[in-house]
């Protein structure tokens, strides 16, 4: 199985090098609402997930599923438009698979974005939160099973999963772009059901500031293979039980849309600086 996974990763890598001349230094995973940012890259080469040998295929209708290679701010970047979620039925290794391929392509830095629910009551919908740490509350992990020794150690450290250096750059960029940034701990749940108010109260007690259904598998895999990682959540709504009104998906989308411009501006200035 170990050799098998590695050979599947290598096959995907070889395909991307041959078909798109891929040699990215940094990777960006674009969460809900941010996908358009990739369109602004120069010298774009687009590869659909379904063309890539071994790549999982996105099942969510209307979600794009493709890699965009290009340059932005003078950096060679790969963007993931559309990611894989555990709740869709993929196993954790499939969710983390793109990260392993990026590692094989030479990626050294990863920025992950997502949409999340606010648990910390000082947050407001539309806030951006830099992820300083996470809690994996899923009972699952992409690193279980035979270890890929070529990528990293059996027991990788996670005491600093979110790079201090990248976090500082993001903070400086936000300050110079006059964008307000929150900071907090992201708790990762499988979903797909949203949390109950009782669960949200429990997670607050446990030290979480925002809740979501993505990001952590990719961050675990990236840290394992030594890719420096940063994460930014867009707080699209307050989590269950905080507001009197029930969650409204239209408002969530509106919030994401409202924030898109400043979020994209932030990410672009970060790419220039890294």
């Amino acid at each position: 199985m170990k050799e098998n996974l590695l050979s599947v990763i290598n096959e995907a890598r070889d395909y991307l090098i041959e078909s798109a001349g891929a040699a990215p230094e940094a990777a960006l995973i674009l969460g809900s609402g941010l996908g358009d940012l990739a369109e602004e890259a120069e010298n774009k080469r687009i590869v659909e997930y379904k063309e890539i040998p071994g790549f999982p295929v996105s099942t969510v209708q209307g979600h794009k599923g493709r890699l965009i290679f290009g340059t932005m701010g003078g950096k060679r970047v790969v963007f993931m438009q559309g990611r894989f979620h555990f709740y869709e039925g993929y196993n954790m290794k499939e969710v983390a698979f793109p990260i392993w391929v990026f590692n094989s392509l030479g990626v050294k830095k990863l920025i992950v974005t997502n949409a999340a629910g606010g648990i910390n009551t000082s947050f407001k919908p539309g806030d951006l939160m830099i992820i300083k740490d996470h809690i994996n509350y899923t009972g699952n992990n992409p690193l279980m099973g035979p270890n890929l020794e070529a990528f990293g150690p059996r027991f990788p450290d996670m005491s600093a999963a979110y790079s201090k250096e990248l976090t500082e750059i993001i903070k400086e960029c936000a300050a110079s772009e006059d964008i307000k940034l929150q900071e907090g701990t992201y708790i990762f749940l499988t979903g797909p059901s949203y949390e109950t108010p009782a669960e949200i109260r429990a997670f607050r007690t446990l030290g979480a500031d925002a809740v979501g259904m993505s990001t952590v598998p990719e961050v675990l895999a990236a840290n394992h293979c030594g890719i420096k990682t940063a994460g930014i959540s867009c707080i699209t709504n307050m989590a269950a039980g905080i507001m009197d009104t029930p969650l409204n998906h239209r408002e969530v989308m509106e919030t994401a849309d409202r924030v898109k411009e400043s979020f994209s501006r932030l990410i672009k200035s970060v790419i220039e600086r890294i």
């Binding site: 994996n136 009972g139 992990n141 690193l143 059996r154 005491s159 600093a160 446990l206 030290g207």
Partner: protein
């Protein structure tokens, strides 16, 4: 082959090859395998030779059963155990406990290397396990219940036998060994926990954190075995003061605990009443 048959096949093989009926099972954790050197061996069987037994992959674990006499008791010791993070199912992780039950043991002594979360602990200390919290998100008893082993809904209100905890404490006192009592939190791993996760576990009442023992303890209680648990605290994992552990350091500290661990467990085996 179903679980019941696997247990049966492994049990028969060990019984025929050793002609020995053990009364105590001992699981030797990372770096603690040398207790087996004190056993007056009747038989030593590599896991790889046992039909339907899983095979250990972790560095530092030896992977064999030692049957023989220790301090006047008939024991079976596991040098090397199976971990969930290696990719085994929880059922496989607990096959050895059920096999040992079938071979005749009445008591399981489980040891491990773990991280300390209680500020009163120090790396190199020994903790007698008084209770556990299962943070693994899964359970070896999920699936059809093996009625001949135990009930569908086994009690876990007293996993670690009170009298055995007292006996261990008494022996430690008489040998001048510093021990603590506390709660073991089990996570899946294989990555070490994030600081946010460690803070969460501290808030929830865990004194140590590790990646083993709990599956075996649950399976042992299910089939009516008495359980005693001994943890070697190989590193401190308090978020504000911790430094990232390495597996090599952990093995090194476990090495320094070994003489005290061996002395404590040997005397315990001698004095324990079955």
């Amino acid at each position: 082959m179903d679980l019941r048959e696997r247990i049966e096949k492994s049990t028969e093989f060990i019984r025929e090859n050793s002609g020995f009926e053990p009364e105590i099972g001992i699981v030797l954790g990372t770096g603690l395998g040398s207790l087996a050197d004190y056993i007056d061996k009747v038989s030593s069987i590599d896991y790889a030779d046992i039909p339907e037994f899983p095979v250990s992959t972790v560095f530092g674990h030896e992977g064999r059963l030692i049957l023989g006499r220790l301090e006047g008791k008939r024991v079976i010791a596991m040098q090397g155990r199976f971990h969930y993070y290696e990719g085994y199912s929880m059922q496989e992780v607990t096959i050895p406990v059920r096999v040992m039950k079938k071979l005749g043991i009445k008591l399981l002594v489980a040891s491990n290397a773990c991280g300390g979360l209680n500020p009163n602990f120090e790396a190199g200390d020994i903790m007698i396990i008084t209770d556990h919290i299962n943070f693994m998100g899964t359970n070896p008893l999920i699936g059809p219940n093996l009625e001949e082993f135990g009930p569908r809904f086994p009690d876990m209100s007293q996993v670690y036998d009170k009298e055995l905890v007292e006996l261990l404490e008494k022996i430690a006192a008489s040998q001048g060994i510093r021990v603590h009592k506390g709660v073991y939190g089990a996570v899946s791993g294989p990555n070490y926990s994030t600081k946010a996760e460690l803070s969460m576990m501290i808030k929830l009442g865990a004194d140590t954190v590790g990646m083993s023992t709990v599956p075996e303890a649950i399976a042992a209680r299910h089939c009516g075995l008495k359980v005693a648990g001994v943890s070697c605290i190989t590193d401190m994992a308090i978020p504000d003061t911790m430094t990232a552990p390495t597996h090599e350091e952990i093995v090194k500290v476990a090495e320094s605990v070994k003489p005290r661990f061996v002395s404590l467990v040997k005397q315990f085996i001698k004095e324990v009443q079955l």
